[in-house]
Amino acid sequence: MNNLIRATARCLRSGAAVYLPRQTDGRVWSAASARFLCSAADIQKDLGEMVKKDKVVVFMKGTPAQPMCGFSNAVVQILRMHGVDEYAAYNVLEDQDLRQGVKDFSNWPTIPQVYFNGEFVGGCDILLQMHQNGDLVEELQKLGISSALQNAEKESK
């Protein structure tokens, strides 16, 4: 019961101070604003909605403008190289419930985590390999996103 009271108080506090900075690449949502309620079960439900709301969703440490982890930064840089600047980025460092919640939701132990069209793609290693072997250009195309590197690929063939 105490946990619930504490969690609710936290939500009300952070809800009152919602600020959604607009970044040049990726929209950054305050983690609290993306959730309506704060219990663990609700986080799972909210995550289900969060990953489907945008074509590309990244759970990371820090923000695209200021990543706080080399692996999270690598994901941001790869997306930038492909010209993907419309994506949702959630900073797990802002919210420990989200940080643990997304690991449970994806059944994946580490951050960053990347979702395409609501489907979990993987972490930094997988995104990097997809970038290197050309799969990322293809997957972005399936999302209706034309990668900046798509033409470069075509020219090299």
Binding site: K61, G62, P67, M68, C69, G70, F71, S72, N73, A74, L93, Q96, R99, N107, W108, P109, T110, F120, V121, G122, G123, C124, D125, I126, L128, Q129, M130
Partner: protein, 150 residues
């Protein structure tokens, strides 16, 4: 035959001198008793994935954690069990094998999962991106470091 004859004929002091520089050389593949987490990772991956080739690198020194930590690792696993599996499934197999370590003391795990054929055509291990200091002041990492020490 000739080299072994020469070896026997060599004075003992010379042979010791030759071996001394190598005395402290520990190839990174050798299990280190003072690094229990690394040993556990190697054991579990070997038992569960029966790899043709396995590399376990402790990259904690590249991150904002105290010296001697065992919190950040990079593994390269070459196994025929990965054949026909997409990357995500391969990584999930590795995660599953190291479930306990990942929930207690390992904070970061970089994975390369190749089939023997892929390894044969490209025998390189990737490099981790530079640390951006996120582990400093992160109490989740502190808890994991504590768990690793116990």
């Amino acid at each position: 035959m000739l080299p072994s004859v020469l070896r026997c004929a060599r004075p003992i002091s010379t042979s010791l001198a030759l071996s001394r520089p190598l005395a402290h050389f520990r190839p990174h593949m050798d299990p280190d008793p003072s690094r229990p987490v690394e040993r556990a990772i190697r054991t579990k991956l070997t038992d569960q994935l029966k790899p043709d080739h396995l590399e376990v690198h402790n990259e904690s020194h590249m991150h904002a954690v105290p010296p001697g930590s065992e919190s950040h690792f990079r593994v390269l696993v070459v196994s025929s069990q990965f054949e026909g599996l997409p990357l995500i499934k391969r990584h999930r197999l590795v995660n599953e094998a190291l479930k306990e370590e990942l929930s207690t003391c390992v904070h970061a795990l970089a994975i390369q999962a190749k089939t023997p054929e892929q390894w044969a055509s490209n025998s390189t291990i990737a490099k981790s991106p530079p640390c951006m200091g996120g582990s400093k002041g992160d109490h989740t990492v502190e808890e994991k470091l504590k768990a690793g020490r116990e």
